[in-house]
């Protein structure tokens, strides 16, 4: 299975009732790449996927190119894509084998050859013991694997996944995420993966396209999205972000600069937005009073096993979240001294968010 490049060009989507689901977007997907469309519900990620699939047509100007060939007018039946739906859409009237072989059957593959390919897919997805079962006799995770096997059996040029893990519980989701990752790496098929789960996006995407209000806010490698978010929305949606009104002066963090602590923070600032500091919870270090850049009172400490999450009141009606690895025995009400890792402060190239 070798992937093909996909180009989405000026694709917008206005539904019949006049709602604009998608502003014109451009997206280039390299051959064999896994791109994740990430965003909250209603951001247009599923609409984008459906346009690539051929289940929705873009507005007049939009074009979808597979391997540099315009496929905009070609229906999904003829695009040779593999698709996995959130609800799996497995056929209840067919067995596991029947489902996996369906795409081959409608393409007219001879039964002997078809059987061989189905066996291959069953083995790849570790589904052999369930080959003759009916769909309603399978667990959620098994259904998910059947859906993947069914989509991959006809050797599609493009694999499209619409929130494939959302219907599963957390533990299973993590296991299957590993499976899917291994599968996509070994198959080298061009993949578009839609999710609202940033952990999934980080784990699976070669690149992530963060979407918001029908636009692509930022496209980039997971690290890039996480460490260099382009705007407020991306910074807030991917990972947890602390936002503090203040300034870093001579190695000390001045909270709510220009106001007395506890006063009407921000009002006296010349430009509140300019002095907003952004940093990630894991970049906050607990230090001695002498090395502290700022101090605060602990509001709560959540022990989460591999780390502890602290919520700290740093004055001027502002709280931050810190993620500390040590088994620090901290009680609510304690005074904690904090410093930030070097380069912890993020700068947003784009001040305005779309919303």
């Amino acid at each position: 299975m070798s992937g093909i490049p996909i180009r989405v060009s000026r694709c917008s989507k206005t539904f019949a009732d006049g709602t604009r689901a998608l502003s014109p977007i451009d997206l280039d997907i390299a051959a064999g790449e896994t791109i994740v469309l990430l965003g909250p519900s209603g951001c247009g990620k599923t609409t984008t996927l459906r346009i690539i699939a051929g289940l929705e047509a873009p507005d007049a100007d939009g074009k979808v190119l597979f391997d540099n060939v315009d496929v905009t007018a070609i229906p999904i039946e003829k695009r040779n894509v593999g698709m996995v739906f959130q609800s799996y859409a497995l056929f209840p009237n067919l067995s596991v084998e029947g489902n996996i072989g369906y795409g081959l059957k409608v393409r007219g593959m001879p039964p002997a050859q078809r059987q061989g390919r189905v066996q291959e897919m069953l083995a790849m997805m570790r589904l052999e013991p369930f080959a003759h079962r009916h769909i309603d006799q399978l667990s959620g995770g098994q259904r998910q694997r059947v859906a993947l096997a069914r989509a991959l059996a006809p050797r599609p040029r493009v694999l499209l996944l619409d929130e494939p893990l959302t219907a599963l519980d957390a533990k299973l989701r993590e296991d299957l995420r590993v499976d899917i990752d291994r599968l996509l790496r070994s198959l080298n098929v061009t993949t578009v993966y839609v999710t609202h789960d940033q952990a999934e996006a980080m784990a699976l995407g070669d690149r992530i396209a963060v979407m918001d209000h029908g636009r692509i806010a930022q496209v980039g490698a997971p690290e890039e999205i996480y460490f260099n978010p382009i705007d407020d929305f991306v910074a807030g949606f991917v990972g947890t972000m602390n936002r503090v009104r203040g300034e870093m002066r001579e190695g000390r963090l001045q909270i709510g600069v220009g106001t007395t602590p506890g006063g009407a923070a921000g009002e006296d600032l010349p430009d509140a937005a300019r002095s907003e500091l952004l940093f990630r919870p894991e970049d906050v270090l607990l230090v001695d009073a002498a090395a502290a850049q700022f101090s605060g009172q602990l509001i709560s400490a959540f022990f989460l096993g591999d780390h502890t999450r602290l919520v700290i009141d740093i004055g001027a009606e502002q709280t931050i979240t810190a993620r500390v690895p040590r088994r620090a025995m901290l009680r609510a009400g304690a005074i904690v001294h904090c410093a930030l890792e070097p380069h912890a402060l993020l700068r947003l190239p784009r001040k305005e968010s779309f919303s």
Partner: protein, 273 residues
């Protein structure tokens, strides 16, 4: 089982049995009347199948015509009703809802009125008016909504749109997904609808009374004729024949109506040793 029964159990059971008896005894009496030598003498006068044989000899043609119409009616409702349900399931807008309501009209309007409308409109179409096809038209009008509703209920309960999108993504054209995915997945609705249609067509009397001609009497029309003009035993024997045909259909209908629950129950209960 060691269930503690409330004080109302026995009175309620008795009441239920009385109601059941009220409904079932006349049916049993009627069937029994068909095999007694003389109804006014009673069972002590002896039992006989003579009446049944006589009815079969004299009214066989009505039974056969009814079966013929029921089968033809089933064919028509399948060909018209299943695709109609499919379209209605796919598009839900004001127009389709109006069509759905209109389809039910022949059930709401008295059969006599529908029959009269058909006669007024097509009464002049000589051979058509005189043939069994005229009765068939009435039966199709009357039974079509039952087929449509039954199939539509199943189609609405499965995520038809996504199933079809799944099939399309795998390369299936319309014909392939309609016959390979849509029809097999609404089988229970089709079976339930089919049994309903056959049963209703076999028993339809109101409309058929006006639509038939002396050359095309159906079973219920013949039955009315026998009740009106022949011995009570003959009418009862006729009823007996009707029951023999209709009861297996009714049982099958109950059986087909709940395949899911049965399957679930079977899965939940391991076979006992």
């Amino acid at each position: 089982m060691n269930v503690k029964r409330s004080v109302f159990f026995w009175p309620l059971l008795a009441f239920t049995l009385v109601v059941c008896a009220f409904l079932i005894v006349p049916v049993g009496m009627s069937m029994l009347a068909g095999v007694t030598r003389n109804y006014f003498v009673g069972v002590s006068g002896g039992l006989t199948l003579d009446w049944v044989v006589k009815v079969w000899q004299d009214y066989r043609h009505t039974v056969l015509l009814s079966v013929q119409i029921a089968i033809a009616c089933l064919a028509c409702t399948l060909v018209l009703g299943v695709p109609a349900a499919y379209v209605l399931a796919h598009r839900s807008n004001g127009l389709t809802r109006a069509i759905e309501e209109l389809l039910v009209m022949p059930v709401a309007v008295p059969g006599l009125a529908t029959a009269l409308a058909l006669i007024v409109t097509y009464g002049g179409w000589g051979d058509f008016r005189r043939g069994w096809l005229f009765i068939l038209v009435g039966h199709v009008l009357f039974t079509l909504p039952f087929m449509v509703r039954s199939v539509l209920a199943v189609l609405s309960s499965i995520d038809l749109r996504t199933l079809e999108e799944g099939a399309r993504s795998l390369g299936a054209g319309f014909r392939q997904r309609f016959f390979g995915i849509v029809l097999p997945n609404c089988r229970s609705g089709i079976v339930a609808g089919a049994l309903m249609v056959v049963t209703l067509s076999l028993g339809e009397f109101n409309m058929t009374l006006l639509l038939h001609t002396p050359l095309t009497p159906t079973l219920p029309v013949g039955l009315a004729d026998a009740y009106a003009s022949l011995r009570l035993e003959v009418g009862s024997a006729y009823t007996l024949i009707f029951f023999v045909i209709i009861i297996p259909l009714l049982v099958a209908m109950q059986w087909a109506a709940q395949p899911v629950r049965r399957a679930q129950a079977a899965a939940a209960q391991p076979p006992r040793a």
